[in-house]
Subunit: 310 residues, 2 copies
C-alpha cells in the first residue's frame, strides 16, 4: 500500500483581496480592504495577491491597488503579489514597489480574447517585454498564471498538450527568471486525475531549477479541495485560495467560486501541515470577509461549530 | 513523480433512501420513495441501502422498509442492503428477503450508547448472533459499518488504534463470512491524511481474502470528495454517497450532510471510471430527490449548467 503522506509544508497564496474583492460589484472602501488584509496577516498568511494593476474603467474594484500596496509597505516579511495583464500593468506594479508580478495568459485563444482582449501570441509578446523589465530591475519574482489549463467556458476540456504548447513558448521567454507557474482551473471543472496528469506531464517537460508550481482552482464543481491535494502530490508547492471562499462564479449564478482557504487548511492534516496560518485567527478573518456587503462566500469550516473547526 | 491514476472501477453505494430519507422529519409516502429509488436504478445504481429494520417508534421514517424491499423484489441484479442495529432487525431483514445486512457499531463507547443505546460489547455480542444466523442462512453478505472511525461528536478525534481494537473483536466474530468493512466518518470531520492512515493501517492488520473495504463519509467539513478518493487510494473499493447530497447534519444546522453521489462521480475522472452510473440520468434522480418536501440537499453538480455537468 502506497501511503499518501501530508506534505511537509505548503505555500498558501491568499487571493481574496484580488479574485474575491473583484467579484463584489460595488467597489469596497479601501479602509475595509485594509481591515480584511490586516486580519489575514494577523492569521499568519505570508503570501497574498493584493490586487491588480488594470484599467480602473474596466475593473473599478481594483483601482486602489496602489494605495493598498502603500498601506502595507512596511510589512517586509510579507510576500505581496499583484496581477498584471500587460506591460503597462507591470510598469505600474514595479513603480508601486511590488516585487511579485502575476502575469495571466489563457491557454485557450477564445478565453484569452474574452479575458484580456487579445491573442495568446500578443500576450506572450508582452510577457517577453515584462520579463526584460524584471531582469533589468532584479530582485523580482514572476508568477505565470495559465488560465483555462483544464477547461475553457467556450472550448470545453483542455488537453495537457495544449497547455504544453503555450507553456513551451512562455518558458523559452522566461529563460532563467525565478518564477512560479500556476495551472489555473478557471471554471472549476477540472477533475482530480486530470490535475494529476497535467502537473505530472508538464513538470516532466518544463521543470527546471528556479521554477516552482502552483494550483489555482475554484470549487464550483466541488473539486476545489481534492484538486488542490492532487496538485500537491504531483509537484505543486503552492495553492491559491480565498478566505471564506469569497468570489462568485461568473457563468453559474449561485454557484460557489473560490476554494476557501480554511477548507484547504483543514484538509492539510487538520491544519497540522506547516503553512504558518492559525485556523482560529483565519476564521476571524473569514468572518470579517463574509460580513462584507455584496460578497458571495462559501466555506464549510465557517458552517461548523467553531470549537470543532479550530 | 508518483502519478495517481484513476481506479479501474468503483462500487458506489447509494444511501439516500436510508441516510437521506431518514433525515426528513415527516416520513415520506412510500410511493414517493419508490419513485426516487426507481430513478436511481434507471441511472445505473447497482448497490443501494434501501432502509433499516429498526423500531418504527424510534425512527418512523424507516417503517416502510419491508414494503420497499417487496416493491423491488424482482430486481435480481440489484444489490439492496438494509441497516440492522440488532438481532431483531437482522431477523426481519432476512425474513423480507434482504441478503445484505448493514450492521452498525460505533468505535467510541459514548456514540454507540447515543446511537443504539448500548455498549460496544453488547453490540458485538449481537453481531456474533447475527453472524451465526447469516452462516445458517447462507448466500448473505455482511456490511460492517464502524461508526465514529475518525471522529466522535463526544470524544473528538479517534486514533486508528481505537478502531483497530474494536475491529479486531469484530473480525474474530465474523470469521470467514464474506463481508465489507466500512470506516464511517460519522461527523464529517475526518481529514484526508487521517483517512489514508486509517485505511492503510487497518487493512494491513485485518485484511484477508473475502473482505472488502468501504468508506462512508459526510461533507460537513467539505472533505467528502477528497476523503472518498483518499480511501480509494488506500484500499477501499466502495464509497457510500447520497444522491443530491440528501441528509442534514444533526450537530450543525444548515451544514451539508452526505456527500453527493454526482460530486463523487464527477471526481472519478469526470465520470469516466466504471461505476455503471450515467451522470445525466443520475442528475434527473437528483432533481427528483431535491424536490422532496422537507429534505436538505447539497450538490455542486446540480448547481452548474446541466450541459457542463454531464
Amino acid at each position: 500500500m502506497n501511503l499518501l503522506s501530508p506534505p511537509a509544508m505548503v505555500d498558501i497564496v491568499e487571493v481574496a483581496p484580488r479574485d474575491g474583492f473583484q467579484s463584489i460589484r460595488d467597489p469596497l472602501p479601501t479602509a475595509e480592504k485594509i481591515r480584511c488584509i490586516q486580519a489575514l496577516i494577523d492569521a499568519g498568511v505570508t503570501r497574498l495577491e493584493i490586487g491588480s494593476f488594470v484599467s480602473p474603467k474596466a475593473i473599478p474594484q481594483m483601482a486602489d491597488t496602489g494605495e493598498l500596496v502603500a498601506a502595507f509597505a512596511d510589512r517586509a516579511a510579507m510576500r505581496f503579489s499583484a496581477l498584471v495583464p500587460n506591460l503597462r500593468g507591470a510598469e505600474l506594479a514595479l513603480d508601486h514597489g511590488v516585487r511579485e508580478l502575476v502575469f495571466v495568459v489563457s491557454v485557450s485563444e477564445s478565453h484569452n480574447q474574452s479575458n484580456v482582449r487579445r491573442s495568446v501570441d500578443d500576450s506572450l509578446a508582452d510577457l517577453a517585454r515584462i520579463v526584460s523589465l524584471m531582469q533589468q530591475e532584479g530582485n523580482t519574482y514572476l508568477r505565470l498564471d495559465l488560465g483555462t489549463s483544464f477547461d475553457c467556458p467556450f472550448e470545453g476540456t483542455i488537453d495537457w498538450r495544449q497547455v504544453d504548447s503555450v507553456l513551451a513558448h512562455a518558458m523559452a521567454i522566461c529563460d532563467e527568471l525565478p518564477m512560479e507557474v500556476a495551472l489555473c482551473d478557471t471554471t472549476g471543472r477540472a477533475t482530480p486525475y486530470q490535475v494529476a496528469e497535467h502537473f505530472s506531464r508538464l513538470i516532466d517537460h518544463h521543470g527546471r531549477a528556479g521554477v516552482k508550481w502552483a494550483f489555482h482552482g475554484h470549487d464550483t464543481f466541488g473539486m476545489g479541495v481534492t484538486n488542490a491535494l492532487f496538485a500537491l502530490h504531483h509537484g505543486a508547492t503552492a495553492i491559491d485560495t480565498a478566505c471564506a471562499g469569497l468570489g462568485g462564479c461568473p457563468f453559474a449564478p449561485g454557484a460557489t467560486g473560490n476554494t476557501a482557504t480554511e477548507d484547504v487548511l483543514h484538509a492539510l492534516d487538520g491544519g497540522k501541515v506547516y503553512t504558518g496560518i492559525d485556523m482560529a485567527r483565519l476564521l476571524l478573518a473569514a468572518d470579517a470577509i463574509a460580513a462584507l456587503p455584496g460578497g458571495q462566500t462559501a466555506s464549510h469550516l465557517r458552517q461548523v461549530p467553531r470549537e470543532r473547526a479550530a
